[in-house]
Symmetry: C2
Subunit: 343 residues, 2 copies
């Protein structure tokens, strides 16, 4: 059933029917109801392409999937997407996933824009001077950034307080009496990773604890790397008595490394991990339960979708940015340092 047929059925013009359905004010209340009822009855629903062609909006948001197996497409992705899609569907917006080909991100973004298949783009995992962001600002193409950059030009973004997360984690460990604290986080260059290191350094320096550069690791997030790096860290003398992990996957590897060295978790070696909140990986149910810095990536997705709508509605982008605080949830994997003899 198309608009024309529905209009004929009702003895009305297409104009009126269209307006009734789209909630325009100049339609008589009785007429509107009659139209709605008929639409429901005949199962009418506007052809999206025709509507979008007429309206000049694509009705889709783009997100590029890096094909280099980078951190930007890990296990948190599905959670983030869930959050996004949940909100976008309220406005009948689609989420278009487009893969990056040939490892050329910038030109993939360019292609996505010029193909006119999306109204806006979501950019994730930025570096401090992310060139995708620079490019999108230059092209004046609407986007929201999940994360932050040092780029001055106004743009919309949502980030969590990564520095605060690691600062809190490190401070807590210092409070417990740890003197040798290591961190294993994501790749250098990424804002979140740099900010976390900053927070970590602030905490240590604030207490006059020297920063040992060997104790700062930047690598991809995976259990394997968590394991390997933690093993290395624990082989130093003195070795760290606490490790802060940038992701749950990394933390799993660190858990294993600590155990395989024969140390007791939360005693001889403590661990705090950053948790994006996954339904299938529960920090509180680990053994020992894991102290985490927590921030729901799902909620971030929902919120970013909301910001996107605001951007598309023309709200000035300089007004659209947020930093979310991160909670430190104390559990059993962090405790005062215990030397092996003492237990």
């Amino acid at each position: 059933m198309k608009l024309k047929e529905l209009a004929e059925q009702l003895g009305l013009s297409q104009t009126t029917v269209s307006r009734a359905l789209n909630g325009y004010p100049e339609v008589n209340k009785a007429t509107r109801e009659r139209v709605s009822r008929a639409a429901a009855q005949f199962g009418y629903s506007a052809n999206v392409n025709a509507r979008r062609l007429a309206i000049g909006r694509v009705g889709a948001i783009g997100i590029l999937m890096p094909n280099d197996r980078s951190e930007r497409f890990g296990p948190h992705t599905s959670e983030f997407f869930s959050g996004l899609a949940e909100r976008l569907s309220q406005d009948e917006m689609d989420l278009l996933m487009s893969p990056v080909t040939n490892n050329d991100e910038i030109s993939a973004y360019r292609r996505l824009i010029s193909s006119k298949r999306v109204d806006a783009i979501i950019v994730t995992g930025p570096t401090l001077m992310d060139e995708r962001v620079t490019m999108l600002i230059e092209e004046k193409f609407p986007f929201v950034l999940h994360g932050r950059t040092n780029i001055e030009a106004p743009h919309a973004w949502l980030d969590i307080d990564n520095a605060g997360a690691f600062r809190q984690a490190a401070s807590h460990l210092l409070d417990l009496g740890h003197k040798h604290i290591a961190m294993i986080d994501g790749l250098r260059g990424h804002t979140f990773s740099e900010h976390r290191e900053l927070g970590y350094r602030e905490a240590l320096q604030g207490r006059g604890v020297p920063v040992d550069p060997r104790f700062i690791v930047h690598e991809r997030f995976s259990d394997e790397i968590g394991f390997r790096e933690a093993q290395r860290l624990l082989s130093y003398s003195p070795h760290p008595t606490a490790i802060i992990a940038g992701s749950m996957m990394t933390a799993l590897g660190v858990f294993r490394a600590i155990r395989s060295k024969g140390y007791e978790l939360g005693k001889e070696v403590s661990i705090i991990a950053h948790d994006d909140v996954f339904p299938y990986l529960n920090a509180s149910n680990m053994v020992p339960s894991m102290t985490t810095t927590r921030s729901s990536i799902r909620s971030a997705g929902t919120r970013i979708a909301e910001m996107l709508v605001r951007v598309l509605d023309g709200e000035p982008v300089e007004d659209i940015h947020e930093v979310w605080p991160v909670e430190l949830i104390l559990r059993q994997s962090s405790g005062p340092p215990v030397s092996p003899g003492e237990r």
Copy 2:
């Protein structure tokens, strides 16, 4: 730049330019090249909505995200999507993710269809008599199923040999001398879960080993449940000396439970897990490395996208289905049973 302008620039009609760009045969070779060059030069690219409106195809594939945190949207999702999107982008097809609202799957599918926003749908995680499948067949709406059902009516699907996977795993454990083998898999009702149990039973019964119903667990996939259920299993007497886990997440929990009971992995208690192959969770790097039944869910995504294209091209759906074999990769987490005294 729009088609009309490009045509004017070239001194050609829209018809010819359109045809040149879309590879129709009735265009002079020289003309076609001239057009292509001009298009590249001006950065012309057809308006997707106009094109789709004219052509009558939406150019998007739909996938519904259950909002009940079910197994259908776990950590494997991003891998599956990657695979899908990679192939779909070759045909300029978008992937549309739509959330299920109000927990009413069927009506969510109905809405997606009647909204005419997708040309076809991908259905995942089916039950044996999945009503979504029945409905889509009835509505004659194109779809490909990731998984299998017992529904007779022809439809396109791709599944892995789940029965074979668990049969192999169980047989291997029996070969090693295990007599008490448990399995922790996904929720009952789901085809993959039922098939796996079938394979498991076949292996045991083939050797005349009795099946203990307490040793068959069907639950959601998560580390937490893996841990809890494995603990329960290990508290029986006699307890299982080997556990087959349906997912890597579950396996992580099982690992912990085995350790927390003080058993040595691969010795007193063995474990084999099914691995969908995640870049961030590597079975071969665990300690001990994990024996797995392996099948790349990413490749499955790519293949399903391919099948989808065939369905849309009108190939008869009864010809479109595949069962993929699953490899058993032997590693250290499975070994002959050792009673605690012996080690």
